[in-house]
Symmetry: C2
Subunit: 334 residues, 2 copies
Amino acid sequence: MSERTVTISEVAKHAGVAVSTVSYVLSGKRTISADTRRRVLDSISALGYHPNAGARALASKRSNVIALVLPLRAGMHVPVLMRFASAVVTAARRFDHDVLLLTADEGTAGIRRVAASALVDALVLMDVELDDRRVPLLRELAEPSVLIGFPAAFAGLTCVDLDFAAAGARCVEHLAERGHVEIALLGAPSVVYERGTGFAGRTREGFVEAVAAHGLQGVALPCEETFDEVYETVRDLLLDHPGLSGLVVHNEAAVGHVLAALRQLDRRVPHDVAVVAICPDDVAERASPPLTSVLIPAEEVGREAVRLVMDKLEGRPVPDSTLLTPLLAIRSST
Amino acid sequence: MSERTVTISEVAKHAGVAVSTVSYVLSGKRTISADTRRRVLDSISALGYHPNAGARALASKRSNVIALVLPLRAGMHVPVLMRFASAVVTAARRFDHDVLLLTADEGTAGIRRVAASALVDALVLMDVELDDRRVPLLRELAEPSVLIGFPAAFAGLTCVDLDFAAAGARCVEHLAERGHVEIALLGAPSVVYERGTGFAGRTREGFVEAVAAHGLQGVALPCEETFDEVYETVRDLLLDHPGLSGLVVHNEAAVGHVLAALRQLDRRVPHDVAVVAICPDDVAERASPPLTSVLIPAEEVGREAVRLVMDKLEGRPVPDSTLLTPLLAIRSST
DNA sequence: GCCGGTCGTCGAAGCGCTTCGACACTCTCA
DNA sequence: TGAGAGTGTCGAAGCGCTTCGACGACCGGC
């Protein structure tokens, strides 16, 4: 085990070339003859050479690492976060970068630290809130950054997210096509609206506007996440709106409870009430019945965020705002 | 913005000392007079100095970064993973280390790469399986590593996990105390047992042994994760065992479905059937009724894993196996 | 047959830090 | 009063890499 670590100069000696030549073979920044390149590459694999990350970062002023900053509040839609994280890592690897994970309990100090110490070249922030205290810091940092989610004032930043307004509208449209005229949106817990997490409000706006545009009747309610609360909400909703036949649920944790509540209230899905969810695909598929849903494209968002941050690193111009088009997957619940 | 990056020699000049003195102030590896130390620290904060991570890693052969390797299979108990990740990051920061996130889609190559390039000093692997193909690699690596979960042969490795056998036993014991004599375990989906994820099997063993020890009657069944499948499982279980009055559920995704199924089958919890879950606390609290549960102590496991890996980095001896004692939280379901 | 222009390669100068040995002091205790 | 043992500080030698300028060798064009 632990074969002593191989350096570039050993590779150079083994291949009979200069150290700089090996470096140029690896970076491709100067032309190298096919013959020399082959010899160098052979030596590299013969010796099992891996460039030392620290030395490389020191000399090139690039660490090839990007920071992924977890949201300020844990607890909410956690599985989706994991998907983002995983997608970001995978995408970063495509650009030959690694990902450093940062939590919020260090506050903004952690962001400042990794940026100032040149540990990372760039940052991706997850789950940005409307009034996010990390945002001012980003503006003064030299390192490029990309936000997943939108703060209130995002001019001059680079933000990417699912187009939740369009997602809300898409659900309404689908229910309208199916002939429903009285529908409701069950959203996030009220605390989420209050603290101004952007996506919850934007879905609701999209819903409300589309309801008006299609001449439907619709209500939008927050929705807590324990079964009992969900049950009451659904029961009251059905009592208050006897003609209601379509439901949009944008709350991953509550969606199972909603279905259980409907079951208990003897409403059949989709016969009595049609249900469209905005949630990750696997949640929709695992439900009973499988739910027609607008999926939350975590992989795509993560990939896009990394693409944008790489563009910025290369000095290419990027848009302030990137909204991903929602996609509706039709299953048995509508 | 982007105040030009400050180096140690500028700090030295500003404080009127040698570069090495600044370094020793920072590392504490040599004694420094209180006076000099103060002057240096003042200069550091006056100039806003942050040591360059790459240079430091190059000179000291320590990157102060540990790798956190995500499990091979995504999809299962994802929220718990996020907790682990978050706990690992927080714990690592206490030791002045950062965390690099690695996914499995690079396979073992990613592990080899970050280790060989000295990007990380040590590794923590999450959600290790009984026959984990990453394990042989770890054995030949010079860098220390800690596993969360147990592979089949763990001698010579360092593993940490909740003591799932004790957790299963603890649930049985609790039901026995409450006077139940005929009980069942609903576990992970059968595919999880088949691929040999350690914790599922260990819970079952603990359950089975404790059932025997207490002279109870018990069955252990796998449990799928869609409502319909859960419903059938529960219904058949109650049909086959009319005297059954206690249920242990070790399946985070199914626990809500189990409760919904019992509701639909007109069994009241805890009156007709008592339910104990092995799951994260928030899932247990959010259920209706709130579940008596053995919590999965993600924070503690993460913290312990980091502590162990730091011990190994410092050359201190560590045990092969660290099992955390399960804790039962009694709520309204038993 | 000579000139300018690639092409391919080399050597050396750092990048910013840690660490080692050296050295000038100041104490202590014979 | 001087040898020995600490203290506190300095200078310099790297750590392993990238990158810049230099320089032969070789090309086609006149």
